[in-house]
Symmetry: D2
Subunit: 343 residues, 4 copies
């Protein structure tokens, strides 16, 4: 079989270089072109010496679409539309790891990102896809909007039980490793500022909120509002979302777990833990797994779901590859057999 | 003025050795006797070499009460009552950093700790005291039950607004540094198991729950139930409690902050941050401060309070010294002028 | 091709579980039996939940040799000989990750490990093998003594230049992540004791010293003595050895680098960095690579070599698999295509 | 007694804010003026929220000399001379925490720092002072050059034995916490780049080398050359220097330790550990102590000294205050009673 020619625009961002790492071992793809405006002309292994002798490709400017069957864009919001238009024109598929193809509503996009969609028609040709929840929605669209990291952990953690949740009782307390903040230097990611430190940020105002609510509302069949508070965790990788909600009918924790186990019974990448176990990011890091543990506070009638993923794999590059596999009719798990290390 | 003669029973536990550190510089006390059953006969500076040349006292057996004006007990639950009885008999004051003098209800104690109070009368002679909330309750009792670390961060974070909270909407997501788990070796505190890891533990079943609810119920004048989930944070020190609740009357975040600022206006150790600031454990570590920031999620009508302390200082040894100062009529902040370092 | 049936004795130690992780994806092996005396009857994924749904094999007692083509032993020193004898009797190959088949000299073994070889003849049937240096020594021996982690980083870092070193000028300052201390709970690996801490240990008295000197002496053709000081580094994985020696003839740093580049020109797993680059453990972790950078202090005529590996991969399980590949005539890099992540 | 009026120029750098923390509790000083060109007009507690309610002083421009009895300058090299001239003109004392008053030789300064002394005469009025080694050199000079962090750990670690060291055998392998790199954002101090990472930097080319050799040469009475390699350690604070040298006459490790114990017998801030103990940065952090442990490798005739300090206290702000105490005839340890915490 001819290998799929893959290009990455934004290859030196954190999601970009993670794509390089994962795709280098994908059996059905060929890394064809890497683009980086900041480092054009340099080898990627000069920017990321971990890749030395593994991928020494030279970083190119943005004109790489022609050479590829599929383009991954990993760019700040507002920059992907331009490439989507070009890909569409040339019949090249595109998977966007940024925020530009996640929200259905142009108004919501403008409200949260402060920009307008420049070409609204483009967005009718894309589909948002967390594979475990939305793979049926993929019907050949040329563009896939790859989900955000927090929304992935949360949607997978709430989907099986969303109809059990009492309106307006959902509280989501998420914690993310520092790679979630990306490669750019900033005060809050300067080592002495985040080591031995911990705090929330963008309290109840993070841009992933509308994406979370969009997914949950569709699953629930009515508007779902959530309180979402992210925190910066002094680890490199991983997200843990602790999700709280009251239940609208009597349910035991055992029944709750069965609902989840049943919902995900055919899913390779979602592991519903046994009762008594607790999801821990150490068990998923460097892998495409999402671990979910179920708990129940009887004295307040509140369910508690703990959902954890590696923000750079299931929360970004891994899920994007999973989406690529869907797009090209490959085995969905192809190239994603990463085993989380014990330490 | 004659210095207060202080003894510590359980001096080699984490709270014990933190007491040694803080009391060594207290201007009105004299460290008179340190007891440790595990290390009797050794110098404390052999067990904790940071104390070399600072406190080289030899660790003694438990018979130190006679020599002291006040005894701090820092022991696993169930072991303090014995010493309380002896202190009482000899007219020596006692401050217990363990769990034995925190709960009013013997039934609750038995339910959560699996033991009975052996001498219920003793408990009528003790008082539970978070100074900022309960100092008026101290009326000469010979025993003070020093509060738990999580309950301190939570009670201070909720006290000013507890009457604003809609019943059964309080969710508390707390995160604690690893010293909270104490000195004993355990799998979950083995470095490779908690470094680059994160998870909750004792989900909705932590023993601090009844203590939290006891304090909040008294403040509120009716039974308050909360969902409380602690997490283990890969840092040495500090607790962050992110507290969520719906409000029972319209309130802006500005008004909310004013309520807190007013409530704590005379408190040295509680800093109510400005709107827009976020409480971060790095700003309180190694100090007796509690930092509180206020937030509001308008679209769900939910207040969010972030409260952070150093679990070993304001959450244990520092607060115990604050209580000792109250007990002996000293300036409440005496010996607690620790400035949190910037890094 | 029929897959090689692999058994692991000591599967729940750190090197053991790392073998499980790496061998699970090896294209030519089949994990046939896992043994653990501490956890017999449990699934390995109960002990290491990262393996859930990936390897749920039940841990067995030690009688697994019959079922296997090759046994990896990963045990405290003194326990492997017994299994070596059994393997030999049954024609099963064995790779020992412990210390029992590393030293040629029974006297040295006794001096450093405080035990005697029980069956000296066994040791004549084994070979010590860092593949890049010793693969020619493998001539069908049934037992391979897999090298220690520190000795691997050091031997690879010194081999090309050992004849350039002035006698008795070699100083090796090594730093290892905490997994190097293994799975057993200990005071010095309790999180609050090693986080935000750093110190050497076993100064000039570590058991890897004779193994280091044995390898270097053979390479040099005369007895080589080194000063070796290991340090405990607050990271999970990785070793950095900073190696100092005076040179016995004029050499520029450029020439020094060429000597190394030439020596390792056909080696996949050793990357000799460009001048100006510095070897960093972050670029090799989770992989079988050894990165080496060369430096020279002209004003003291001293060469400085920085050599870094992942202690659990190239320093243990990865190198053991490399040795297994040699033993079975497979492609030496088979199953070891792990790409070090950027973060 | 009238308090000494202290000003800090460069108050928002890491050494500057550490001075603020330590001086806030000094019994004989009054923080009179804080200057920061980057943050003029802001409160220092807005830049460093740990100082909220403790020091809310407004940051000023550089014209603060008139108001003060002593100025601490904590600035990048090349910027302190200007202030030294002004201080001298106005009879204000100055302690420079930067590099400009450390080297005797203008040539060496130019070679390593790429700048010339603008006013050589100024440098005849300053004195370099590690108090334990040089306090006798202070004879009223108006300017003190405060030593660098690495040189402090190394000079204290070598001073007692420098005459025992064989020429050209000294190798110094130092490891520093990330605050040593300062407050400025940089790739190598971006959290995901230095967490779970470790490497040397500026191998045998660090600017502290001439300062180290200057001090050792004076102590030894002849030119001493050393190989010095610093490493970046993933902790916030602390330096560990592992120092190797061959001895020029027979000495046991016990004798070696006695030489050190005797040399430092009257020094409060240097703790010579017992044989068998190992200096660990965790025991000195947040304090002005230097811990030293002695070791000997008999089979190579090499002494090994481990010396550890807190780079921000004994390596910067604490030692600067110690020097201020000398300058003003105060008790040398005044205001420096910081006890290193156990964790």
């Amino acid at each position: 079989m001819k290998k799929i020619k893959v290009g990455i625009i934004g290859a030196t961002g954190y999601a970009g270089v993670e794509l390089v790492r994962l795709l280098s071992l994908h059996p059905q793809t060929q890394l064809t072109a890497l683009s980086s405006v900041s480092y054009e002309g340099k080898k990627i292994s000069e920017v990321y010496p971990n890749l030395k002798c593994i991928c020494d490709d030279t970083l190119q400017n943005e004109d790489i679409i022609d050479k590829c069957d599929v383009i991954f864009t990993s760019l700040p919001h507002g920059l992907s539309e331009k490439f989507a238009g070009k890909c569409l024109a040339k019949g090249v598929k595109m998977i966007d790891l940024g925020a530009d193809f996640r929200l259905d509503s142009a108004e919501e996009y403008t409200k949260w990102y402060g920009k307008k969609y420049e070409d609204e028609a483009l967005h009718t040709k894309s589909v948002y896809c967390i594979p475990e929840l939305h793979r049926a929605n993929y019907t050949g669209q040329p563009i896939i909007g790859n989900p955000g990291c927090y929304p992935t952990s949360i949607a997978l953690g709430l989907a099986p039980a969303i109809k059990l949740a009492v309106d307006n009782t959902i509280v989501i307390d998420s914690k993310s490793g520092v790679t979630g903040a990306g490669r750019g230097l900033a005060d809050n990611t300067h080592y002495p500022n985040c080591n031995e430190a911990f705090a929330p940020y963008k309290v109840a105002s993070h841009r992933h909120t509308p994406e979370i609510e969009q997914t949950l509302s569709k699953l629930c069949g009515k508007k779902v509002n959530v309180t979402f508070v992210p925190h910066l965790l002094p680890v490199n990788r991983g997200i843990v979302s602790t999700i709280y909600f009251n239940v609208n009918k009597p349910v035991t924790v055992k029944e709750l777990r069965e609902i989840y186990a049943d919902f995900y019974k055919n899913e390779k990448f979602v592991r519903v833990l046994e009762l008594g176990e607790v999801a821990n990011l150490r068990n998923v890091k460097y892998s495409n797994y999402c671990d979910i543990s179920l708990h129940f506070d009887e004295h307040t009638n509140r369910a508690i779901v703990v959902s954890t993923i590696d923000n750079m794999v299931k929360g970004a590059a891994g899920q994007a590859i999973q989406n690529m596999n869907i797009m090209f009719g490959l085995e969905e798990a192809s190239g994603l057999d990463y085993i989380p290390p014990a330490f």
